[in-house]
């Protein structure tokens, strides 16, 4: 209940204050969720094996932090997401640029992109495990698929959204194909590329958890699955909370500011 007091204290809100109120308005619904959860558990007297209270989940969490298992799972999951995403960006951005500058390539690939984008993510898990076995390769493949199509498609949108006059201007100032790529196409498409990465990472995060339940023996998805085998409902819920919080942190602290910076600083407004 400190929020209203803080907002009312200063007539001219400073940047720090604005950040604080931003964080409070962001966290408040989550706090309400926790309160409602605890209240519901107490009122309904639901069996902890079906749905545990806040205290039991926190205890399970503290335990997994103490014995180091949480860090092991989080580390494994984050490492996979990062590797799969980096690979997808390395392939998706050049392909998107190529589609953006060549109408023939984009006409040919667009139906394929439509087809595969609906399959992006978990639909690939069965065949990925056939191809790569149960393990690292299959999971990286699933993440790659989740990020690749979105990044390539957004890069295409970004490149083809660059006004032709900007490319003409660069050409008449002496830019060749490579300098055009470096100085115009990539920076011009960057806001869209960042948006693509942000969207793709969302898909990847979901695909990762699903794949880890099936195809591995470490990671957050595996942690949930293992806990289920031991009827540790409180550990399952804790794992779900961690998955959600990790994503919120990545999105809010890294991706969203990056997207805002590139778009706002250059005054680019993209639809």
């Amino acid at each position: 209940m400190t929020a209203p007091a803080v907002t009312g204290a200063s007539p001219r809100p400073s940047a720090a204050l604005k950040r604080l109120t931003g964080a409070v308005t962001f966290l408040l619904p989550l706090v309400v969720l926790v309160i409602v959860w605890e209240a519901a558990v107490r009122i309904t007297q639901v069996h902890p094996g079906v749905f545990p209270g806040v205290g039991a989940v926190m205890k399970a969490g503290a335990e997994s932090i103490r014995d180091g298992s949480l860090w092991m799972h989080v580390g494994a999951s984050m490492g996979r997401v990062m590797l799969g995403t980096v690979l997808a960006i390395l392939v998706g951005v050049p392909l998107g640029v190529l589609m953006g500058v060549s109408p023939a390539v984009s006409t040919f690939l667009t139906p394929l992109f439509r087809f595969f984008s609906v399959l992006a993510g978990i639909a690939w898990i069965p065949i990925a495990t056939l191809w790569f076995g149960y393990g690292f390769g299959a999971i990286i493949f699933v993440i790659f698929n989740a990020v690749f199509f979105v990044v390539a498609y957004n890069t295409l949108l970004g490149v083809s959204g660059i006004p032709i006059t900007l490319r003409n201007a660069a050409a008449s100032l002496g830019a060749g194909p490579w300098t055009m790529l470096r100085e115009v196409l990539l920076p011009g498409a960057l806001p869209n590329i960042v948006t693509g990465i942000r969207t793709g990472l969302g898909f990847a995060w979901r695909g990762l958890i699903a794949a880890e339940m099936i195809a591995t023996n470490v990671g957050l998805g595996y942690m949930l699955f293992l806990a289920r085998d031991f009827y540790r409902t409180e550990l399952i819920v804790f794992g779900m909370v961690v998955i959600g919080i990790l994503w919120l942190l990545i999105d809010r602290l890294i991706l969203a500011p990056l997207e805002r910076r590139t778009i706002e600083r250059w005054g680019l407004v993209r639809s």
């Binding site: 900007l166 050409a171 100032l173 060749g176 100085e183 005054g267």
Partner: protein, 252 residues
């Protein structure tokens, strides 16, 4: 030596709605000697932009030849600088980086190209805006940067397609006076396209009137320089020339 020579330039477009070819430019020939300031005027749709885009190399020719400094050209190149109607500055580069872009493409080292860029920004009266981004500038300032960016690359010809059409009347007059001052200081060869007759007469050594894709008439503008609006607005010679050009444009 002639800086720019256009011989028998023509352009036909395919009109997908009418399902037939339309001729936008027909056998246009024009010689622009080094250091001349030529304005091309004509009613909307007479082919001004098409001619400029062909000279710039942005669209292919249907016929004819474009010769810059004795060499036949095709495709865009740094010998022909362009100032666009919509400024076309790179939004992700600062004003200084925009102006330094041409020298950068030529491989000029960072310190040198920044010095060049600062020189041309000062020439355009924008030394103070070097570190800003284009979206932080007014329309008039954006066009000044566009002029500085094109000039900093020292092109053989400067091509301008209605660069002042989208700024307010006061700013436009200032920009016109500044452009004549810059032209007098540096003597670039300029082809300036406009449908504003007083603007053409104010700026040019020679006004070329187009009509339906052809050159209708060329008129020498023998007004003294420096040209400033306060003096010219009441000038009899300026009035006579403007009336003469206006009549040609309206008959076109």
């Amino acid at each position: 030596m002639k800086s720019l020579s256009i011989r028998n330039l023509s352009k036909t477009y395919f009109d997908p709605y009418a399902g037939k070819h339309v001729t936008a430019v027909q056998a246009v020939s024009l010689d622009v000697p080094e250091g001349e300031f030529v304005c091309v005027v004509g009613p909307s749709g007479c082919g001004k932009t098409t001619i400029l885009n062909m000279i710039a190399g942005f669209i292919p020719l249907s016929g004819g030849e474009i010769v810059v400094d004795g060499r036949s050209v095709s495709g865009p190149g740094p010998d022909r600088g362009v100032v666009f109607q919509s400024h076309a500055l790179f939004p992700w580069k600062t004003v200084l980086e925009n102006v330094a872009f041409g020298p950068k493409m030529r491989g000029v080292p960072l310190a040198d190209r920044e010095a060049i860029a600062r020189e041309y920004l000062a020439l355009a009266g924008l030394a103070h805006a070097a570190d800003r981004y284009p979206n932080e500038l007014s329309g008039g300032m954006q066009q000044r940067v566009g002029v500085a960016r094109a000039l900093a690359n020292q092109p053989a010809v400067l091509l301008m397609d209605e660069p002042f059409a989208s700024v307010d009347a006061q700013t436009r007059m200032t920009l016109q006076e500044e452009l004549t001052r810059i032209w007098q200081e540096r003597r670039p060869t300029i082809i300036f396209i406009t449908h504003d007759v007083p603007e053409a007469v104010f700026l040019a050594n020679r006004v070329v009137v187009l009509s339906k894709g052809r050159v209708l008439k060329e008129i020498d503008i023998d007004l003294p320089r420096p040209r400033v609006w306060d003096a010219l607005i009441e000038d009899e010679r300026f009035k006579t020339l403007s009336a003469q050009v206006l009549q040609l444009v309206r008959s076109a």
